[in-house]
């Protein structure tokens, strides 16, 4: 009997939930806003699916239905990726420690 590959993916999923649980509890509360913007950015790795959808089929009929949805999804995910990482960077650059001489 072979194990269905789905079970392996499910194992990855469940274990990742636990990793997420412990990692997120260790995030300092003052960084909760950057946490949200960066989780936003990384969840846009869904762009992987969008690219596959956009390039599906042969290249002559690139603008049939399912490709168009893929292209739109690429743009939306790209807004999130660039916007999410850059705004996180901008926020994190503002967090400064007290200067000694003050």
């Amino acid at each position: 009997m072979e194990i269905d590959p789905f079970i392996f993916r499910l194992s990855i999923f469940i274990l990742s939930i636990f990793i997420g649980y412990y990692v997120v509890w260790s995030v300092t509360p003052s960084l909760h806003t950057p946490l949200m913007s960066v989780t936003n950015a990384i969840s846009s790795v869904i762009i992987v699916g969008a690219i596959i959808a956009g390039l599906a089929g042969n290249s002559d009929s690139i603008f049939n239905n399912s490709n168009i949805f893929g292209f739109l999804a690429i743009s939306l995910a790209a807004i999130n990726i660039f916007g999410g990482f850059l705004v996180t960077q901008r926020m994190l650059a503002m967090y400064k420690k007290k200067k000694k001489d003050k």
């Binding site: 990793i19 950057p34 946490l35 989780t39 969840s43 999804a73 743009s75 995910a77 807004i79 705004v87």
Partner: protein, 465 residues
């Protein structure tokens, strides 16, 4: 080009980099490096996808164009957005993740061959379940986030919208989603797929309208969580490890944040989600207010009190964000520090409209993060402080939460502001806060009310110091 096994390993690497990105946020020093790991993970995932498809024809150019257009819009928004608008931005971004998940699910449904899921009308059962769950959760995330965005932006009133039969209606729709998924899987009919999407969009909308403005921290965290589960659902469909790992991370991250926010208000998750909070309480409290005497003062009195203090604790709230008073506040604090007065900031977990909202605003105004403390860290210090300066916060300082079991906010952890020798309370009027209840703090002997716009008042105090 790239074998499936090789790409799977690279997807795993990018998943690990995303974990490190979140891990970096455990302290501000490591956070920038963490963000870099996140970016690296994303670059790897996208590159590997291109290489594994290996189709560098005209379609590839289109992908790059759409990618660049989206990227430019995103970068433009990221640089232009004011820090006070961060909750709206995050809500807006959530809606995009949701919509992207829906679009990917649609194209997988229409063209399953491209994803190795079978042929139209005969999609593998497991994949169909996964993609319909991903699509439904994505659609809920999308429409829910749009409502949250409109409420935060002020385009839509922040007041809860409730109507008779709301909860039975929502329950009915949620059940119909499950039934639709079941029917879809047994018939593979595309009409049912569209119906599922339509119903999911509708329920996302209906779920968020009854939730009031100040409960937005919970809503945003919850939608954050949903966007993760939607991504994970699509990840299962695409058999993509990076997407499954990320979805699980984001899903649990949002869930934990919602939990922290609910605990900060001492309310159960369901109490928040069912909504209507604040609307009912308002009517009961409005009859017996503004009878008691209140001491009010001006900027001069406030400056005098603070000048003679040796330690001051500042309690910021959403009002500070609305008035954009964070820079004026920091200037006032600079002047205080020049007079050798010890100043620290106390942040309540639900201050503002999203988790960590106040911390970002203070960081923007160049307040060092080691002067900013969370509720548990600083609550004992109020008893030893001379002045508490409450700017734009209200319910989170209300001592009623500790004393009156009848109060709707009873049991909520509050900042022990009343233990200070004197309290300065900047507020525009005596009107009750979000919870719709009077704040006992207004009528305390040692409280001085400063009725003014938060920014203007802070500037005036600085002049008088």
């Amino acid at each position: 080009m790239f074998s499936a096994n090789l790409s799977a390993i690279f997807y795993l690497i990018s998943g690990v980099l995303f974990i490190l990105a979140l891990r970096g946020l455990s302290s501000p020093e490591t956070s920038r490096q963490g963000n870099f790991f996140g970016i690296l993970g994303m670059i790897i995932a996208i590159t590997v996808t291109f290489l594994s498809i290996g189709n560098f024809s005209s379609g590839f150019i289109y992908v790059l164009i759409f990618l660049l257009v989206g990227g430019l819009i995103g970068a433009y928004i990221a640089y232009k957005i004011p820090m006070t608008a961060m909750p709206e931005l995050v809500a807006g971004f959530h809606s995009l993740v949701g919509l992207a998940a829906v679009l990917v699910a649609i194209s997988a449904f229409l063209n399953p061959e491209a994803f190795n899921l079978g042929v139209p009308g005969d999609i593998k059962l497991g994949s169909l379940i996964e993609m319909s769950i991903g699509a439904a959760v994505g659609a809920i995330t999308f429409s829910g986030s749009i409502i949250a965005f409109l409420k935060l932006q002020g385009i839509m009133s922040g007041a809860p919208i409730t109507f008779k039969g709301q909860h039975p209606l929502n329950a009915l729709i949620l059940i119909s989603i499950i039934v639709l998924i079941y029917l879809l899987c047994s018939t593979q009919s595309s009409n049912l797929f569209w119906a599922l999407l339509a119903v999911s969009f509708l329920i996302g909308f209906l779920l968020i309208i009854p939730i009031g403005g100040a409960d937005m921290p919970v809503v945003i965290s919850m939608l954050n969580s949903y966007s993760g589960w939607a991504a994970a659902g699509i990840g299962f469909t695409l058999e993509n490890t990076a997407l499954i790992i990320t979805g699980a991370l984001v899903g649990s991250s949002g869930a934990i944040l919602s939990y922290i926010m609910c605990k900060g208000m001492n309310r159960s998750f369901f109490n928040v989600i069912l909504g209507g909070f604040g609307a009912t309480a308002q009517s009961t409290s409005s009859q017996n207010k503004e009878q008691k005497p209140v001491k009010s003062g001006n900027a001069d009195d406030a400056a005098f009190l603070m000048k003679n203090a040796s330690s001051v604790i500042i309690v910021p709230g959403y009002g500070m964000a609305v008035a954009q008073a964070q820079h004026a506040l920091r200037e006032m604090v600079d002047t205080l520090k020049k007079n050798d007065i010890k100043v620290s900031y106390a942040i309540h977990p639900v201050a503002g409209r999203m988790p960590g909202h106040m911390n970002v605003l203070l960081a923007e105004a160049n307040v060092p993060y080691d002067e900013v403390f969370e509720l548990e860290e600083i609550n004992n210090d109020f008893a030893n402080a001379d002045v508490a300066f409450v700017i734009g916060a209200n319910d989170v300082t209300n001592p009623v939460a500790k004393t009156d079991p009848q109060s709707p906010i009873y049991g909520m952890p509050v900042l022990d502001v009343e233990k200070c020798k004197s309290v300065l309370f900047v507020k525009r009027s005596l009107s009750p806060g979000y919870a719709g209840i009077d704040n006992d703090l207004f009528y305390k002997e040692n409280t001085l009310m400063l009725f003014a716009d938060a920014k203007k008042m802070t500037e005036d105090i600085t002049k008088n110091l």
